[in-house]
């Protein structure tokens, strides 16, 4: 069955033939972060793909992965182009290195998972929180529910982790 929903004024959908995204976002809606693990290599991959990016192997299993990691880089949007985001500027789009499989299979590879910086309840973070996050910040995954079978994975500051004294931020605030 296709999935549709409204999120921040945007119309979201997953077609019923799109098995990979239906599974991924369905797990998110159930509060689980799962990624595909290729049977031949045992390597996890992100985002969902139809085959293993290292071997082309089409066989895989969905396995639970810990949603924790470190900010690798980010975009801080001051001029939103999607209307519903204008109320939340500046907002952060984070590129997060998962702790799992970091530096594998080669040094510069990682599972780099996108997401907005949000509050623990899944709403886009307030400006003072935005200003406290940068490269090196420790974050954990939270899910923002959208519809049956669809939740959006996002990132919030990891309260249990030791944060860097000063994460790297763009020099101009």
């Amino acid at each position: 069955m296709p999935v549709t929903g409204e999120y921040l004024g945007m119309s979201l959908s997953i077609d019923d033939t799109d098995k990979e995204n239906l599974a991924y976002f369905g797990y998110c809606a159930a509060g689980e972060f799962r990624l595909q693990r290729g049977r031949r290599t045992g390597l996890l991959r992100y985002p969902p793909t139809t085959a293993c990016p290292w071997t082309g192997d089409r066989d895989y299993d969905w396995v639970p992965v810990e949603g924790r990691g470190e900010v690798h880089s980010y975009a801080e949007v001051h001029h939103a182009i999607q209307p519903a985001f204008r109320a939340f500027t500046p907002y952060l789009v984070l590129l997060v290195d998962l702790d799992t499989q970091k530096g594998e299979p080669t040094e510069h590879e990682a599972l780099r998972v996108m997401g907005n910086l949000v509050d623990p309840d899944g709403r886009l973070a307030a400006p003072d929180v935005v200003r406290s996050v940068g490269i090196g910040s420790r974050v954990r995954m939270v899910f923002t529910p959208v519809a049956d079978g669809l939740a959006i994975p996002n990132w919030t500051l990891d309260e249990t982790a030791t944060q860097p004294e000063q994460p790297w931020r763009y020099p101009q605030e």
């Binding site: 959908s13 077609d15 690798h72 880089s73 975009a75 801080e76 999607q82 590879e109 763009y170």
Partner: protein, 418 residues
């Protein structure tokens, strides 16, 4: 950097093909024309520039992002019967790639002369910044991993690469702002440029933030325009109207690993030029040190800097120093985008930078210098505001096209016969 390339043995089709005609419309906001009419205008200008009649052209290529007209309309309008045409999907990085395709189809005997056009109302219809209809479009499937996060426009999507370069190498906003400063200086000597006012580093870094690290003046202009280049064999070019401009080497849409979601494969502060240069320079038989003029794509100031660095015009990590050293300005050792490029002249998804370098190699850029009895400009080489923008003795140029940090195209051209 050493030019450790093989310049003695001709590789592939080095020097066998040429760009014989270039043409464009005006660069403006509010063309009040269809993309079909804009394309016809640009193709007509390129034919006249080359000294070709419509019947001399039998191939056509175009590219668009569902925002333009088609080859069949334009060819029909100007009286070209086609032996080959193709309308490709894509934006930046298409120019050099399609020139390579044109060479291939001519070499295969499918046609003899190809006109390549890009026609767009990038301000009044489908805005290239992504606002309007594109921002409001429904989000499905794979796009949920990006656009659902308010991560949609080019600047938003490239920002993590730009930020990481600052983190990895200490690159500063002020260094990179020099790209805009240089291109605005060049545009001030280009009567057809959309923005002709010179700006300072302070102007750039004090303009409003769009998406860190990009200020308004780090971003290109959105304009309505069409552009055209005509490709044929160098042998044939010798009988045409313009001085010969030969193609030494071309690379088309070369990618980093994981082009589906390229940030998976780092270093993310490295761009596709890191791979493309391994084709560009050996096939050209020259290296970066020998290039007189560059045309490094400038959708954003950072784009220009990253490509110049990864194609080897400076050491990795030194792009900030390179672009702020004066080298890339007219009067410097290797000016970049002497027309003002996308930051100032107009946005064309790469075409105007190729057109400009063709004119540089002809020694005939269209600045405000007086025109002599031979119909060519008498260049003064005075680069003060409103003056000359011809580079003295330009022999070799390099165009570095960009689609994303993960996809690039490139081309080396030479004045005269190879």
């Amino acid at each position: 950097m050493s030019n450790d390339v093989d310049g003695t043995t001709a590789r592939y089709l080095r020097g066998k093909y040429a760009i014989v005609g270039v043409g464009e419309t005006s660069y403006r906001r509010g063309s009040n024309e269809t993309t079909r009419n804009l394309a016809t205008w640009a193709v007509t200008n390129a034919l006249a520039d080359a000294g070709l009649e419509p019947g001399d052209v039998d191939g056509m290529l175009s590219y668009s992002g569902n925002d333009s007209t088609f080859s069949t309309f334009v060819a029909g309008d100007v009286g070209i019967r086609l032996n080959f045409y193709m309308d490709c999907f894509g934006g930046g990085s298409s120019t050099e790639a399609l020139i390579g395709i044109a060479i291939g189809v001519i070499e295969a005997g499918m046609c003899s002369t190809v006109a390549i056009f890009r026609s767009m109302n990038g301000f009044t219809q489908v805005r290239i910044g992504g606002t309007g209809a594109r921002a409001a479009a429904p989000i499905g499937g794979d796009a949920l991993h990006g656009r659902a996060y308010g991560w949609q426009s080019a600047g938003q999507m490239f920002a993590p690469a730009f930020m990481r370069h600052m983190y990895d190498y200490g690159t500063t906003p002020e260094q990179v702002a020099h790209v805009k400063v240089a291109h605005s200086k060049h545009a001030s000597n280009n009567p057809k440029a959309f923005y002709r006012e010179r700006v300072s580093v302070e102007d750039v870094v004090s303009s409003r933030l769009i998406c860190k690290p990009l200020h308004l003046l780090d971003c290109c202009v959105e304009t309505d325009n069409a552009t055209c280049v005509i490709v044929t064999r160098a042998e044939r070019a010798k009988d045409l109207r313009q001085p010969l401009v030969s193609i030494r080497s071309v690379v088309g849409r070369c990618t980093k690993p994981r082009a589906d979601m390229h940030y998976q494969h780092g270093p993310i502060s490295t761009v596709a030029g890191h791979y493309a240069r391994e084709i560009l320079w050996p096939n050209a038989g020259v290296g970066p040190d020998e290039i007189d003029v560059t045309g490094s794509y400038d959708a954003f100031t950072f784009t220009t800097m990253l490509q110049l660095e990864d194609y080897g015009f400076c050491a990795k990590g030194e792009g900030g120093e390179y672009v702020s050293s004066g080298i890339i300005e007219l009067g410097g050792a290797r000016p970049n985008n002497t027309s003002g490029g996308h930051l100032c002249e107009g946005y064309t998804h790469g075409m105007n930078m190729v057109i400009e370098n063709v004119r540089q190699l002809r020694g005939d850029v269209d600045d405000s210098c007086p025109v002599g009895a031979d119909g060519r400009r008498q260049h003064t080489y005075d680069y003060s505001e409103g003056g000359c923008r011809q580079v003295r003795d330009a022999e070799l140029t390099a165009n570095l096209g960009w689609a994303t940090p993960a996809t690039g195209s490139a081309m080396v051209m030479q004045k005269g016969e190879v």
